[in-house]
């Protein structure tokens, strides 16, 4: 690794780490602390191969590493998550204060991790279906069906939110 490589890595991290951190938070539904750990892990992999990949879209590489480890981590917590989400929040029964945004995010967190990742990449990062498929290492058809099912669930919740 030359000094120039090191400097370019600093620049890359400075420019992209906030965006990666935000993606991590949305995909794994994690705390900022957890998400930082995930981003560091992904960037460590980038750093390891930096001289080779720095001229070849390192951001895509980082995002792929990040999203996949975020999905893995979210999956590991799946069962316990489902339980805590299945329980109504203490004392708040259909609270009308629960804004639409919170309701949507709540629904987003309940989705299976991979489906959630599809929605984040498609509608928050504005990636195309093909780009999303490349990040997740799945087919475009899977992205389409996961996005459609995820949106349907969120839409359902949105209707409830409007009626509440």
């Amino acid at each position: 690794m030359t000094n120039e490589d090191e400097a370019a890595f600093d620049e890359f991290v400075g420019a992209r780490s906030t965006a990666l951190l935000r993606t991590a938070i949305l995909v794994c539904g994690a705390s900022t602390h957890d998400a930082e750990d995930l981003v560091q892990g992904a960037l460590e992999r980038v750093y390891r191969h930096w001289p080779r990949i720095r001229h070849d879209n390192p951001e895509a590489y980082a995002r792929r590493a990040l999203v996949n480890s975020a999905i893995t981590r979210a999956r590991r917590r799946r069962v316990i998550r489902e339980i805590s989400f299945a329980r109504p929040p203490e004392g708040a029964v259909d609270s009308p204060d629960l804004g639409l945004r919170d309701a949507l995010l709540d629904e987003l967190r309940r989705l299976p991790p991979r489906m959630r990742a599809v929605l984040v990449l498609r509608y928050w990062e504005d990636l195309s279906e093909a780009e999303t498929a490349a990040v997740l290492g799945c087919s475009v058809g899977t992205v389409k069906s996961q996005a459609a099912r995820g949106l349907a669930r969120v839409r359902e919740r949105m209707k409830e939110g409007v009626h509440a």
Binding site: L26, L43, R101, L105
Partner: protein
Amino acid sequence: MNVEEALKDAMTAQVHGVQAPPSMAQQVRRRRRSHMVRFRTGTAGVAVLTAAVAGAVPFVLHDGSPAPAKVGAAPTAAPTGETTAIPGVVVPNLAGMNGKQAFMKLRALGLTAKIETRPGPAESHDMVLETTPEAGAVVPEKSSVTIVIVSNAPTEPPQTVELPQDLGDLGDGRTFGGMHLGYLPEGLSWGHWSGKNGFGDKSYTTTFVVPGVPDGEYSVQVVVFTGAAAANASKKGDEVAKNTYLASLGEGGEVSKDPSATRTISRFLRPDFAVEVMMSPNYGGKLDKADDELKKIAAGITLVK
């Protein structure tokens, strides 16, 4: 506003205030180093980093091995009678540099840098505290210099996950929801939480963990389904024993061939009383015969009054 826009708006709002810390690149390097160390020597803790760099090395007079000293202290005088000309490098003065600068400087001189950290005040975080050998000392080429840098990494409180305690203190956790687990693999202990009705009315659940797994993770989870909730218990997969079904279930409870799917066994003790036992892929992967263990757990379940 359509649902895509509403979702985007909500996601944007959620992460709006989030900023990556400016030290991210440095943290990544530190992490990389510590991984290299663990990989090579199997020791965690102090980060020791080796850079093998060959370079042009001047010939200087060497006077023996120097002692550790504060950075910036005057170099030891060299009043020796017997000096020999050997290839050597003068250890540079690294005072005032941060860990990375010091490392780069040593590397540029063809020296091997070892970085150690020592707790210190926040204002001098990552600054070089001392080197061994001291600045000005002459060391053989490619030898190693230990840099001690100040570490004031804020100690993050351990991540805790609030878990429900619906069933109170379950002791060893083996008896709840009207059944008793006669068998559990060795090394598991109760996960100190329990939930009620998360899987339908009435259902009860808790987990067992191998000591040391992070909060929020489980090794084995047991769910008891009674009454109407029994319809929610899985009858998927192979019937491996009477009224006992074993399958790999994916995120949506579907049968899955994905290696990260969860091995799940369910046993119906009565049509309206079923117990599901899930083994986390992490834990199952460490067992020789995960399926046999699941079958033994299922077979060991008895109803209690």
